[in-house]
Symmetry: C2
Subunit: 139 residues, 2 copies
């Protein structure tokens, strides 16, 4: 099971916005893209999806750009994954009625594990981990 580059880009974008969140200012797409190593034109589409899901919001015109719609503590990795794909975990078997019920149960268990793990990772945690790592250099 391979995760798409899109999910990765989306996570990077949200992390970038989260780092910038305390300033309260909007971040331009171009700056966000170059800071995270993501093609700007592609990032635009991802940001639009993030906005549609209420994760980010945008400001137009000069001094415009993107910022998070909620605090980083309120955004989980699962939210981001659901924003760019429909579901965190999906398989044709779950919607196939002539799939054996015991198998469907197995896929469901896998899905639940995935959902739970993704919901348990918030971007505030990631910010803290990054800060901890940086603190190492000062010791």
């Amino acid at each position: 099971m391979k995760l798409s580059v899109k999910s990765d880009y989306a996570a990077r974008a949200v992390l970038g916005l989260a780092r910038h969140y305390p300033t309260g200012a909007a971040l331009r797409v171009e700056d966000l893209a170059s800071g995270q190593g993501v093609p700007a034109n592609y990032l635009v589409q991802i940001l639009i999806e993030l906005k549609a899901q209420g994760i980010a919001k945008s400001v137009r015109g000069k001094e415009g750009g993107y910022l998070l719609a909620r605090a980083p503590a309120e955004i989980s990795l699962g939210d981001v994954l659901r924003a760019v794909h429909g579901e965190v975990f999906d398989t044709p078997a779950l919607s196939d009625p002539n799939c054996a019920p015991e198998l469907r149960g197995a896929w469901q268990r896998l899905k639940d594990a995935m959902d739970k793990a993704a919901a348990g990772i918030t971007f505030q945690q990631l910010l803290d981990e990054g800060a901890d790592k940086e603190k190492m250099y000062y010791i």
Copy 2:
């Protein structure tokens, strides 16, 4: 994150072989395919991969077919997923060096959760669940 139909087919195939495991006889591809609602010509390719990973084995000639190489209790859903794709969970971010380390940690946690969940589901369990369900009708 979408799971391919191939993984589903592989799981069905192994479940079908597991049900037939106690007899010790080989199961023809055609029979296995029609029993599980899988295109036979495609199933062949999947079975070859399962065989290459030591999950199934084959017998040629008349009375030939496929059977499990180990007991159903020794085969986890993770084994099957790893047989048809390379990994249970993979993302370009994990091998991208200029991805933020805190993000890589997050993906790794997701991967671990997935691996653990997939390793914890054996086909013996699925057989038992199926048997339990069948017993319901006799009450």
